[in-house]
Subunit: 536 residues, 2 copies
């Protein structure tokens, strides 16, 4: 009964440095800035955490191009907030910031602790999953069953030409269906491949590795067995992840419909993937790869930081994402010990408070890791292998030491490692020697940097910038009220029609009847012949 | 033993208004015009006929951007010829123009003649197929086994960064493999889906209609049976089409390799399709849809033609493609009778000699149909439904009367008709009334024009112009010496691994063993119990 089988992925979705924008009722904060002529109206229903990064970039760019963009956001958020080029519509939540911070602090408990008994760790993980999924459901319900807000949106239905949302939490998709507005999805991927199911996209388990397996596209027999079993369990996993949202959908839409069907309405799927990171696989015409959306969204470093990063030996960028505010003490010590033994300085992005030492940067303000990675002094990138971070590292060709924590991170790390651009370490059993060896390897073995430069050149060599492409398809859906001509007829077929099982059954029957009849004929002829011989 | 099951498609490939560029030995005609700085070197091995149209556009644009483009062409061609921005490399053929003209004249015989006995018509078609395939093979061999030309190319191997070719006739692909140069393919599609096999692209027969079936993506049970049977026969069809080229490949490359394997080397597949015409279907990352490449390649009409087309009633554009130089007399009479009864003028593209009448344009020079269709006076487009023509009609939103002759044309026509932008008529049994009704329908029923305007708007609304996109990916392959990161790992799998049949067999065995063991256990327990009861 969880949204995903790993709590960390979920933590990334909602928690981190929580912010309370308002403490009570609905408010319409007009923050939009129209720089061009009026074009269209876009409703944005985002997911919080790192998921907001790409969506914010699109919202900002859409607003900058003159569209009127309205972002619907809860009063307590991790990253979502006002922007220069969009307006916000804020809805209240039935819990307070302290409650969210409490759950956030529990993230630390599920990380590491290799000494803790296995069963206890599993129990801890599941408790955290339960807390987070409940929060996600409550947040979604707070929006969907906020009668005044929904009626406010419904009254203004002619205002919106499209909904931009993250279908991982299908709140935006449900609103779009209710209001009859076409949807543009921005996502990394749904763990149970519901995105692939909803687009009708074939994903042969023989070379398309499944989430949570850490497999690559080149599998031996044993790995294919595992991948096939996981793919066979996907429908069940989807039921587990979305059973509560299925109920919410029925209640909210007042029709007998589930999340899978709602998502199959979607006009365009902007997938935050790129085939320099993702393994090549089939795609449908309404799926657009836009991985690396933030590559060009960057600012110069703060003035006081510039001399610090410009040292001869360069520096290492270190981040564990927005969710990992504080690492467990024993793991922090491991990292510090390794850092003491390298000539490079270390900058921990987002939260720097435990690195109070001359050698590492004390960031009291949030420094975007993309800006740090873009600096020519960046020698290595220690990352939890979240997709945004990996794309930023890839964009600026910085070799990586990856310490995946959960969710899609082990899969992402396996993809990058298979390209020879970094090493993967297990954070729960990491030692200072491992980390030091990993860092020395990616910094001093030139093959990592060379591979990374080659991969980065491929990643950056695309016919159109992924942010422009995302904006283009969002505008396309607004202009044409959808993109039906890109939707495959697979949605009109049930599963046995899709696999032509009825046709195969008919053909098999015909062949069988033919064989039986031929056999009978032959038998009859033989009998006749033998009788004739006997008579002769 | 044919290249395709319909002679007309093949006629389109090689014959039409044949041209003899040279009568004897190899010549290097330097016609290139460098407008920018030197970037790279491209070898173009094109197919003749309408297939050259898109390839010429790319070759010209590549040359215009400063690349050195070399087009290898036979001495006798239909459309291929020199251009402003590329150089040509001409090879001799063992036959003369008169021989080609003779085969060309045979096209008329296979068209129409509804009164001719069925078997005679079939025989006629097969004879024509045989003539054409022999010509194609001879032309390919004339290039591949021209030792001086191949050694000329081999010596200059460092000159070429990529080969641009049409894989339907795999001459260019064989040269690319021999010289170890990455390949960019430009194609509409290969009738036996060899392109899909070579890219590893899934094509579920439940909604991906096969060539020559005339089916759409929405099929009833009977149609799915037909489509599944055709798809099951594809490997056999491929063997039939390419058996001779398989032999040529082995001989030329001096290795045990077939066309399918050679084509799977290809770096990028530029598919001349667009999902406003083609039904949405899965695509692989190295397949790029570039349908409508010629939409923006146009010139103003000749001065003398401008007043003619500007009449109040507008005009009808009529073409049967480059292959149909002259229609059979009885069909010409049907068209003339219908044309007399409409207020519009008629312009027959390419060859106008049989329309010597004040009402229809007498074109002694070749007028590109794209330029005519772009004129606001164009009311309808009578076309054989070749893909280039359809894209041009689509680009300029001109409703269509389609009279498919062969090859992929009935399939193309079915696609456009399913969009409500035109009507389809059978040219072999056409009457003046049918044609008149068709023309009146598409000209006067505003729904056709409205549907066409909507479809045209979708077709033209793309993030990047298809010609620019084609040039981009060609340059990409040149820059990066291929595009391996876009090639799916499917090529490392054999067919039973791809479908995980070995995994399924293992899992089925485990389940079976489990069931058998459970049954045995139960049986054993039951026996024990019953014995015990008896003893009691």
């Amino acid at each position: 009964m969880s949204l995903t089988s790993n709590p960390i992925l979920l933590v990334l979705l909602l928690f981190g440095r929580t912010r309370r924008w308002m403490t009570s009722s609905l408010r319409l904060g007009l923050l939009s800035c129209h720089t061009g002529a009026y074009v269209g109206k876009l409703l944005v229903v985002p997911m919080d955490g790192s998921h907001w990064v790409g969506m914010k970039a699109i919202s900002q760019e859409m607003g900058r191009r003159g569209h009127r963009v309205t972002v619907v956001m809860p009063e307590i958020t991790i990253l979502i907030g006002p922007g220069e080029h969009y307006e916000t519509l804020i809805y209240p939540l039935p819990f307070d910031k302290a409650f969210v911070d409490f759950i956030m602090s529990k993230n630390e408990d599920v990380l590491g602790k290799a000494t803790q008994p296995f069963l206890e760790r599993i129990q801890e993980k599941f408790s955290q999953i339960k807390r987070i999924t409940e929060l996600l459901h409550t947040t979604a319900e707070s929006l969907l069953f906020n009668a005044s807000l929904i009626s406010h949106l419904a009254q203004q239905v002619s205002r919106f030409d499209a909904v931009l949302t993250d279908p991982m939490v299908p709140t935006g998709s449900l609103i779009a269906r209710k209001l009859g507005i076409p949807t543009v999805n921005l996502l990394r991927g749904i763990p149970c491949f519901l995105d692939m199911q909803s687009t009708g996209c074939p994903s042969p388990p023989s070379y398309v590795p499944r989430f949570f397996t850490g497999l690559t596209d080149k599998m031996d027999f044993k790995q294919r067995v595992i991948n096939t079993l996981v793919s066979a369990l996907e429908p069940l996993l989807c039921r587990l992840i979305y059973w509560r949202f299925d109920q919410i959908a029925k209640e909210f839409l007042e029709e007998d419909v589930g999340v899978a069907e709602v998502l199959s309405d979607s006009a365009i799927w902007l997938h935050r993937i790129d085939f320099t990171m993702e393994f090549p696989r089939p795609f449908m015409p309404n799926m657009v790869p836009v991985g690396g959306i933030n590559c060009n969204v960057r600012n110069p470093l703060p003035e006081d930081l510039e001399p610090w990063v410009s040292g001869k030996q360069g520096f290492v960028v270190f981040t564990l994402g927005t969710s990992m505010k504080k690492m467990p003490d024993e793991i922090t010590q491991v990292f510090l010990e390794a850092f003491r033994q390298i000539p490079q300085k270390v900058d921990r992005c987002h939260f720097g408070d435990e690195f109070l030492n001359g050698k590492w940067h004390i960031s009291t303000t949030w420094v975007p890791q993309n800006d740090l990675l873009a600096h020519p002094g960046a020698r290595a990138f220690i990352t939890h292998a979240g997709s945004h971070g990996l794309f930023e590292g890839l964009c600026h060709a910085v070799p990586m030491v990856m310490v995946p924590i959960g969710g899609d991170q082990p899969d992402n790390a396996a993809r990058m490692a298979s390209r020879g651009v970094g090493v993967v370490l297990d954070i729960s059993s990491i030692t200072a020697e491992d980390l030091l060896q990993g860092l020395n390897e990616v910094i001093n073995d030139t093959r990592y940097k060379e591979n990374m430069k080659r991969l980065s050149a491929l990643h950056r060599d695309r016919p159109i910038d992924p942010l422009d492409l995302s904006v283009y398809w969002t505008e396309f859906v607004m202009r044409h009220k959808g993109a039906k001509h890109l939707k495959a007829a697979v949605h009109d077929l049930n599963w046995f029609q899709y696999f032509c099982l009825d046709v195969i059954a008919l053909l098999a029957t015909i062949v069988l009847v033919f064989i039986v009849l031929t056999a009978k004929c032959l038998k009859f002829c033989c009998r006749k012949l033998s009788r004739k011989r006997k008579q002769d």
